[in-house]
């Protein structure tokens, strides 16, 4: 498979996936223009859409219940520590960015770069979990638990389910790290690595929605 050399206009630093003396672009796959390439594989998307739909349904139920008590929800949402929510959003966006870089690197057989990017993403996940723990601790010590009203019920359940997904995702990233350590070639692992990456992006995207709806909209 020939990869057309991209123009060497800007080089990315090595730590962001740039190769020494080469441009860090995604190696182009030989794709039939009409068919397109399914990231991961078709079956994966049943899982992703199914999971996203469960979360979406819970968020819509949250918004529905909010209509009955807009002020109560607003007041409760002001008890949340918005900066932690916002920083967590940025942290997960960064982790997704690093996952994309890792994917490109693995595709181009740059295993060391890929491993560094994956470690970065895992560190982001750890930061996310740490901030979440701080957030939960501070809310519970302030007397807000899943039992204190509908807002906090949904808040804890949505973010709790999401956190479980982050933990599963971290395990998957670690598995990918092992594949890179063993220098598994792209052709052998394409489906599963793209699958892990897409799962991680889903975790990121779910948090974007949770942040917007639970942290922001309720408080506006």
């Amino acid at each position: 498979m020939t990869q057309p050399r991209p123009k060497a206009d800007v080089e990315l630093p090595e730590f962001l996936g740039g190769a020494t003396g080469d441009v860090a672009r995604a190696p182009r796959r030989a794709v039939t223009p009409s068919a397109g390439h399914i990231p991961g594989e078709a079956g994966l998307w049943i899982f992703l859409f199914g999971d996203m739909t469960i979360f979406a349904a819970i968020m819509l139920a949250f918004l529905w219940d909010r209509r009955a008590d807009v002020e109560g929800f607003e007041e409760a949402s002001h008890q949340l520590i918005q900066p932690i929510g916002a920083v967590n959003t940025l942290v997960l966006l960064l982790s997704s960015f690093l996952v994309v870089r890792a994917l490109f690197a693995h595709r181009a057989a740059r295993y060391v770069t890929a491993r560094r990017m994956i470690v970065g993403a895992i560190v982001c996940a750890a930061v996310f979990a740490g901030l979440k723990a701080v957030e939960y601790y501070s809310e519970i010590s302030a007397g807000h638990t899943p039992a204190t009203g509908q807002f906090f019920t949904f808040y804890f359940i949505l973010t709790g389910l999401h956190l479980v997904h982050v933990i599963v995702g971290t395990a998957l990233l670690a598995a990918w790290q092992l594949m890179c350590l063993r220098r598994r070639p792209w052709s052998a692992v394409q489906r599963i690595v793209e699958g892990i990456a897409c799962y991680w992006h889903m975790v990121d995207l779910l948090w974007v929605a949770i942040f917007a709806i639970v942290y922001l909209v309720s408080a506006e």
């Binding site: 909010r66 916002a86 974007v208 917007a212 709806i213 408080a219």
Partner: protein, 90 residues
């Protein structure tokens, strides 16, 4: 810094960060914005779903995916955005 935005993925990431900051500002209550709550809420949801669309298109590489998958994904995102906005604004 400039190196990060040297390619599409970098630019998308930068855009997502900026969008996050905008929505955070909108939600923080210190935003001066006419139209009150409805406008702020609609904008917040809209921006959030644009972010989700870009995560799908660029991070998940759906730009290069078959039409069906793209349609389902962006259709799903749009439907959810509409439903959420309707619940908040109507």
């Amino acid at each position: 810094m400039i190196a990060i935005v040297s390619d599409r993925i970098g630019r998308v990431f930068a855009g997502l960060v900026v969008a996050t900051c905008i929505t955070w500002w909108l939600g923080s209550g210190s935003a001066w914005i006419g139209g009150g709550f409805e406008l702020a809420a609609t904008l917040t949801i809209l921006i959030a779903f644009v972010k989700i669309a870009f995560i799908g298109a660029d991070f998940m590489e759906l730009r290069a995916a078959p039409v069906i998958l793209r349609t389902v994904f962006f259709g799903w995102v749009t439907a959810f955005a509409v439903a959420a906005t309707a619940m908040v604004v109507v």
